[in-house]
């Protein structure tokens, strides 16, 4: 075999060897466990702590509110639909209670109840925000947990 081809073959083998060594050391250990990805990625994806705790967690302390809500129009709403994620509130210690928001603006209620052609009348009650009791807060007449109950 001519000398330059011998030399090239040697370099080629060295190169492949280097590549395979690098591949061995750089490939993550759990790669290919379940498919062409890092198997540990699945476990890592589970680690994050949920922000929305679900209404069972709310009911543990606020059972009165829960009973009221479940008996009325807003029964299908989760507490966190309006009050936002509960994790911080639940994990707050007695001395510093972080209260969840209690949104009561007309715009907030309008997110669901503003009149819109895309909302079916039999699916959701709607009002014209520009006409209906202009300037008043919705909560003046409606209790969010029991919309048709008279408010104090």
């Amino acid at each position: 075999m001519p000398p330059q081809i011998k030399r090239l073959a040697l370099l080629f083998v060295l190169f492949i060897g280097l590549f395979l060594t690098l591949k061995y050391f750089l490939t993550p250990k759990s790669f290919g466990e379940f498919g062409h990805y890092r198997g540990l990625a699945l476990e890592e994806g589970k680690l994050k702590v949920p922000e929305y705790t679900g209404q069972k967690a709310c009911a543990e302390c606020h059972d009165d509110m829960m009973v009221l809500k479940m008996a009325n129009e807003h029964a299908s709403l989760s507490c966190e639909t309006c009050h936002g994620a509960g994790r911080i509130h639940i994990s707050s210690v007695d001395s510093v209670v972080v209260s969840p928001p209690k949104p009561n603006t007309r715009e907030f209620c309008g997110i669901c109840h503003a009149k819109n052609a895309a909302r079916k009348a039999d699916n959701i009650k709607q009002i014209d925000l520009k006409e209906h009791n202009k300037g008043e807060l919705c909560t003046k007449c409606h209790n969010p947990h029991s919309p048709w109950q008279e408010t104090k």
Partner: protein
């Protein structure tokens, strides 16, 4: 984030909210542009070697060195555009075989190491050995290293250089087709994008690559002769121009076929693409890509086929067409890459795109990736001058 709010006000119609910013910008325009230059230049070189077009002899090494210098830069725009550039090695160690992009590392290495470097080394081996004996000081050592320790110049060994080199050129042609056809496949296989998704895409990319590569070698050939104050080999230049014309005609026919097919089939996406082409792409597509980049060069070159002598005029016109063709192909890549992201996949509207001067995706960065291969080419001409080789 401020620029995104500005863009939001310029959105036309409805786009999915995540579509506001273009994901692939000028750097990804450069990527097919540069690899196209490589493939085209190599194909021109192999015309001389494999198909024995003897007139093209003076351009053989020039074309190879041009291909090599652009090849060395080809991955840099890609890597610099990654959001996590330090992880680029993953594409080599865990390539995902269903991904068109994953094979890039291997196709690239194959082409760079096995085809270009080897062919140039075998072609230059005798000269490198002789230079390593003639030169003194640092340069002697540099050439010594380049010989890879093989100084055997016996007749049988040198004959092997030629044999193997010829064999590699033969492998090189399908490899060049693979390299660039494959770049086209990266776009052509995205079924979500009707502007890209066409089987013709790899073929169009291939022929436009040849067009741009031949034009580049033509320009380099003229510039080298100009700088070295040599009388240019007109027969060779005319021949390159002839091949450029043939490649242009083929490319034009393919692109025309693609557009005619699109218009005639007029699928679901046709309306939005129609508005795209007649609106946001008017100048870059009709004026730059087709008129200035294709029709004008084609008419000029075709006319020059019938002109005898008038060498001064011919040289000027060749230079002009070369530059026009390069710009035209650049805009072809632009229209594919950027054009394909301007319309929403909902087909209900358009986002907007503004190129910035500075920044990691700016014009300056792009200019760097175009100046760098030219610098490398100048260096290679100095290190391995094709005009100072030893007569056999």
């Amino acid at each position: 984030m401020q620029h995104l709010y500005e863009m939001l006000s310029k959105v036309d119609g409805y786009i999915y909210p995540n579509e506001i910013e273009l994901n692939w910008s000028i750097l990804i325009v450069l990527y097919p542009f540069i690899t196209g230059l490589v493939a085209g230049a190599f194909i021109l070189a192999s015309l001389e070697r494999v198909f024995k077009v003897k007139v093209l002899k003076p351009t053989y090494t020039i074309a190879l060195l041009t291909a090599l210098s652009f090849m060395m830069v080809a991955t840099l725009p890609l890597i610099s555009h990654l959001a996590q550039p330090q992880r680029f090695y993953e594409i080599m160690i865990t390539p995902h075989l269903t991904s068109a992009m994953a094979i890039f590392g291997f196709v690239y290495l194959w082409y760079l190491m096995v085809v270009l470097l080897l062919e140039i080394w075998l072609d230059y081996r005798r000269d490198i050995v002789l230079w390593s004996q003639e030169k003194t000081g640092v340069m002697k050592r540099v050439y010594k290293i380049l010989t890879l320790g093989v100084t055997d110049l016996s007749e049988s060994t040198v004959k092997w250089d030629d044999k193997l080199g010829y064999f590699i050129t033969i492998i090189g042609i399908p490899s060049a087709f693979l390299l660039h056809g494959y770049v086209g496949f990266i776009f052509g296989s995205v079924k979500a994008n009707p502007w890209w998704s066409t089987v013709l895409m790899p073929v169009i990319f291939l022929f436009s690559a040849m067009v741009s590569g031949i034009a580049l070698v033509m320009i380099v050939f003229m510039v080298v002769n100009y700088i070295r104050k040599q009388v240019i080999d007109m027969a060779c230049l005319n021949e390159i121009a002839k091949y450029l014309l043939i490649a242009l005609i083929l490319d034009f026919a393919l692109e025309g076929l693609d557009q005619v097919h699109r218009i005639y089939e007029a699928e679901e996406s046709f309306n939005i693409l129609d508005i795209l082409v007649k609106g946001k792409l008017t100048y870059t597509l009709f004026l730059f890509q087709w008129f200035l980049g294709m029709i004008v060069p084609m008419v000029t070159l075709a006319t020059l086929q019938f002109v005898k002598n008038r060498n001064k005029l011919k040289k000027r016109l060749y230079m002009m067409t070369g530059i026009l063709v390069l710009c035209g192909i650049f805009f072809m890549r632009w229209n594919v890459v950027v054009g394909g992201q301007l319309f929403s996949k909902s087909f209900y509207g358009f986002t907007t795109f503004k190129l910035h001067l500075i920044g990691s995706e700016g014009i300056m960065m792009a200019a760097l990736w175009l100046i760098l291969p030219c610098t490398i080419l100048a260096f290679l001409f100095w290190l391995l001058p094709p005009w100072k080789r030893h007569e056999v």
